[in-house]
């Protein structure tokens, strides 16, 4: 059972206090999207065996959504940051690059 530090309230919460919310940084496809764009937005998932950017809600806590960068095999946590952003913070990207030089990036 994993533990993540909520960037909003600073609590290091265990999984039972959190709710997972799937892949982060998806771009919403609205009414004008093509079928392919809409399908991709709703379903196509990167699902990497490696670094994942995933949404979590501190549900049994401050109730806020945040994003965790985590390794999907080792469960190493590279960092967490508030969900109110469209891309991961630069310093976090640096941290991950340093840990995994072969990492192909978050997109």
């Amino acid at each position: 059972m994993l533990r993540l530090t909520c960037p909003h309230c600073g609590v290091t919460a265990e999984e039972t206090e959190l709710t997972p919310g799937g892949e982060a940084h998806l771009r919403r496809a609205g009414p004008d999207a093509t079928d392919a764009e809409f399908e991709s937005y709703l379903f196509a998932r990167k699902n990497p065996k490696g670094v994942v950017f995933e949404r979590w809600r501190h549900a049994h806590g401050c109730g806020k959504w945040f994003i965790a960068a985590r390794h999907s095999v080792s469960w190493q946590v590279f960092g967490t940051y508030p969900a109110q952003t469209t891309e991961p913070p630069a310093d976090l990207i640096e941290t991950i690059r340093a840990a995994i030089p072969t990492w192909e990036g978050w997109q």
Partner: protein
Amino acid sequence: MSDMVSALNGARFEGFAEITETGLCGMVQIRADLASAGLAQALGGLGLSVPGRRAILSAGDLELGWMSPDELMLFCPRDRAAAITQQLAQALGGEHAMVLDVSDARVRFSIRGEKADQVLMKLCPVDLPTLPQGEIRRTRAAQTAVAFWRVDGGLDLIAFRSVAGYVMGLLKHSARPGAELF
């Protein structure tokens, strides 16, 4: 009002710690930009200031807890809740803020005694020994959401009102005489 009843009507249990449902308690939920001057001023009117992250502070019979980056919970005597709600709402009239009297949405328990911590150590995934005085911790107790903080002689805990019976059941189970952890 005389026909008001709290969830468990003041139920008590004596175990290795003393558990009491504390009866009616006023609770006012405030959602606002916690950094706004208006909020500080509005709270100032009650002799309160904006608590820091996860802090709970008190002034007289008021307590004010930090619930999230844009939410506070004010605890007060039940009969003052409506007035305080109004007062704050008015004071915050110009802001994008929301003040609600949610007094009856929750139930409050007191856990008293030297071993009060141990009651919650059995229910909450929280490092109790390091919980400082003046911090309010939101978490879960077994399978339901709670928040608690230290007070003189033990801990106070709030949970949703509908599960008051469940939470009392948990606390009683935890505080059973002879079942101390240490």
